[in-house]
C-alpha cells in the first residue's frame, strides 16, 4: 500500500521557538500512525498544519496527492479532524450536531443514519442529550463522530484520551480500532506509550519539534536492546556479591526484603540467582521480570520522561 500523507521538510516557528523543525514523514494508507512526545514537542502544530489550520513556514504536505497548502479547501473533503481542545455549540443535542455538521458537507443525513454513526462511536444512547451535558469521554467520542460525518479517508485525533479515566480510554481505543478496520487511515497524537503500543502500527517520537525516531512499537523497543528489570523478595538476607560478578548484571539494589537488578541476559542471570539462593538456603518469592516499553525508549532517546511530573 502506498502512502496517503506525504510531508517533507515541514517548518513552523513562533518567535524564537522552532515548534516544528524540518519534519519529514509518510503515513501509509490504512494504518494507525502515532505521534508520541512530551508537552510542547510540536505534535499539535504538525497535525494542524496537515489539516490546513496553521500555515507552514516551509515544507510541503500532500494528502492523497493533493497539496494541503496554499488552499486547504481542497483537502477538506478528504479529512476528518478532532482538535485537541474540543468545543462545540451549546444547546444542541448530540444528534442535531451530527446532522448539522453533515449538512456543512452537503450531506442530508437522516435521523437513522446519524444514529448509525453515533452507534459507531458508542454514543447512540446519548443521541437526544444536550451537548453541554456530556462527560469528557462522551464529548471526545462526539467529536470523533463529527470527524466521521463526511466519510473521510484520513482522520486526525489530537490526544483523544488525555484526561479520560482508564475505562473511558479503553472504550475510545475500541472506537479507533473499529474506524481503522473500515479502512480509514488514522493519525493520532498521545502522551501514553501504552496507547501507542496498543493502537499504532507505527510511531514517530517527537521532541523539540523534531522526529527523533520512527518505527513500529516493537521495532522501537527492540532497538533499545535494553536490560530487563528483575525484582524479587526474600525473607532472609541474601548475599548478592556473587551475582554482581555476572557480566550483564547491573544496578543491584536492596531495600529491606525487596531486591532488584537489571540484566542483559535474562536466562543466565536468573539461573545464577536461583543457584545463589539455593546455596545460601534463602527462599526467593515474588520473582518478576519486566521488559522495556516505549517509555524507556523515550527515556533512552532524550534522557527525560514522557510526561511532566
Amino acid at each position: 500500500m502506498g502512502s496517503i500523507i506525504d510531508i517533507s521538510n515541514l517548518v513552523k516557528t513562533y518567535g524564537d521557538v522552532r515548534a516544528v523543525d524540518n519534519v519529514s514523514l509518510a503515513v501509509e494508507s490504512g494504518e494507525v500512525f502515532g505521534i508520541l512526545g512530551p508537552n510542547g514537542a510540536g505534535k499539535t502544530t504538525t497535525l494542524e498544519m496537515i489539516e490546513g489550520l496553521r500555515k507552514p513556514d516551509g515544507g510541503t504536505i500532500t494528502i492523497d496527492g493533493i497539496p494541503a497548502w496554499p488552499n486547504p479547501n481542497k483537502i477538506k473533503h478528504l479529512i476528518g479532524v478532532q482538535l485537541q481542545a474540543t468545543a462545540l455549540m451549546d444547546f444542541l443535542t448530540v444528534r442535531e450536531m451530527v446532522r448539522l455538521f453533515a449538512s456543512f458537507y452537503g450531506i442530508r443525513m437522516g435521523k437513522s443514519k446519524a444514529d448509525e454513526l453515533l452507534n459507531e462511536v458508542a454514543l447512540v444512547e446519548k443521541a437526544g442529550s444536550m451537548i453541554n451535558q456530556l462527560s469528557g469521554g462522551q464529548q471526545q467520542r462526539l467529536s470523533i463522530a463529527l470527524a466521521l460525518v463526511n466519510d473521510p479517508k484520513v482522520i486526525f485525533l489530537d490526544e483523544p484520551t488525555t484526561g479520560l479515566d482508564p475505562q473511558a480510554r479503553r472504550k475510545l481505543w475500541s472506537v479507533v480500532e473499529r474506524i481503522n478496520a473500515e479502512g480509514k487511515t488514522v493519525v493520532l497524537t498521545t502522551h501514553y506509550m501504552e496507547e501507542a503500543e496498543v493502537l499504532c502500527s507505527r510511531v514517530a517520537i517527537m521532541d523539540n519539534g523534531r522526529v527523533i525516531a520512527l518505527d513500529t512499537p516493537e521495532g522501537l523497543i527492540n532497538s533499545l536492546e535494553s536490560d530487563v528489570k528483575i525484582t524479587f523478595t526474600a525473607k532472609h538476607p541474601l548475599d548478592m556479591q556473587k551475582l554482581a560478578k555476572i557480566s550483564s548484571v547491573s544496578k543491584l539494589s536492596q531495600v529491606d526484603s525487596s531486591y532488584s537488578f537489571y540484566a542483559g541476559d535474562v536466562q543466565k542471570s536468573i539461573m545464577s540467582l536461583l543457584r545463589l539462593a539455593d546455596s545460601q538456603e534463602v527462599k526467593i518469592e515474588n520473582l518478576n521480570v519486566a521488559g522495556a516499553d516505549l517509555e524507556d525508549v523515550f527515556l533512552h532517546l532524550t534522557g527525560r520522561g514522557l510526561r511532566e511530573q
Binding site: L53, T86, L100
Partner: protein, 361 residues
Amino acid sequence: MRFAAMVVANIKTTARNKQALFFLFIFPILFMALFGLVFGKSQDVAKIAVVNQDKSTLAKSITKSLSKIDKLQVEKDGQGDGMEKLKKGKVDAVLVLEKGFAKNFPRHPASIDLYYDPTSTRSQMMRGTIGAVLGGIERSMIKTPPLITVKSKSVQSNQLTYIDFLLPGILAMSLMNSGLYGLATAMVTRREKGVLRRLKLTPLPLSQYIGAGIINQLLVSLVQAALLVLIGHYIFGVKIIGALTSLAILVIVGSLCFITIGFVIASFAKTTEAVATLGNLIGMPMMFLGGVFFPVDNVPNWVKPIVKAMPLKYLADSLRSVMVQGQPLSYVHDDVLVLLAVTFAAFLLAVKFFRWESDKR
C-alpha cells in the same frame, strides 16, 4: 441547504437558552413599563365609584353618560366600600344615587350626593366634571338647546403625549442594544471556545456562517420589536397610526445596521469583556444623545455634529415619524439611506477584520 441548517441551529441555540432569552426581552419591557408608569396615560385617568340603589331609567342614563367620558373610569360600587376607597385615594369621587332619588322627576328635582376629597386636586376637578355631565343630562331631558358650545381643538391632529414620544425611542434603543451585543457576544464566545476553529475545518463558507448569524439576530430583534409595540399599544395606550409594513421595514433596516456594527465589534474584540466595553463605548453616548428619552433638536451647537453622526438618532427619528405621526416611508427616506450607508461601511470593515481564532497561529 447548509445555510438553512445553520440558521435553524442558531435559532435553536437562541430559543433554548432560556436565561439569555429572558434578559433579551425583559430589559426593553422593563424600560417601557418603568417610563410608562411614570409618564404614561394611566396618570390622567380619574376614577369614580358609583353607588346605585335606584332602578330608574335616569339612574341608568347617568351611569351610562359617565362611563362614556374619556379618561374617567367608572366603578360600580355594590359593597359600599366606595367611601373607604375615597379616603385612601383609590377613587377620586363617590356618586350616590339613593333609592327613589328621582321620584317624580322632572317635576321634582332629583337629589344626588357626590362625595369628594377636598385635599386632592383631581377630586376637586371631579366636582366640575360631574356637574357638567349632570347639567348636560338635565338639558337633554327638558329639551333646552345649549346656549354656548365649546369645541376643544388640539393644535396637532393627534395629541402626542410623552409615552408616544418614548415608545419609538425605546424601540430604537432595544434594536441597537441587541444588535450591538447579541451577535458579537455569541461570535466572540464561540471564537474563544474554539468552535469557530472547528467550523473553519468544514466546507461551510464564512459568508454563510455570518449570514446565518445575522438572520438569527434579526429574528430576535423582530420579536423584540413586536413585543414592545404590542405592550406599548395595549398596555400604555400608545397610538400607532403608521403603516405596520413601513414600521417593519424600518425595524429591519435599523436592526441590520446595528447588527453589522456589532459584527465589527466582534471582529475587533478578543474577549466577551471587550465586546461589552466596545459596545458601551459606542452605545452609551447614543442612548443619551440619540433622541431616545428626550428630543435633541435643541442641544448646544457644538453637540450637534456629534448627534448627527449617531445612527441611533436616524432610527429613532424615522420610527417616531412613521409610528406615531403616521408618515409614509418616503418621508423618512433620508434616515433610511443613512442607516443603509452605515450598514454597508460596517459590513466592509467587519469582513476585512474577521478572525476565526483569538490568536494568530
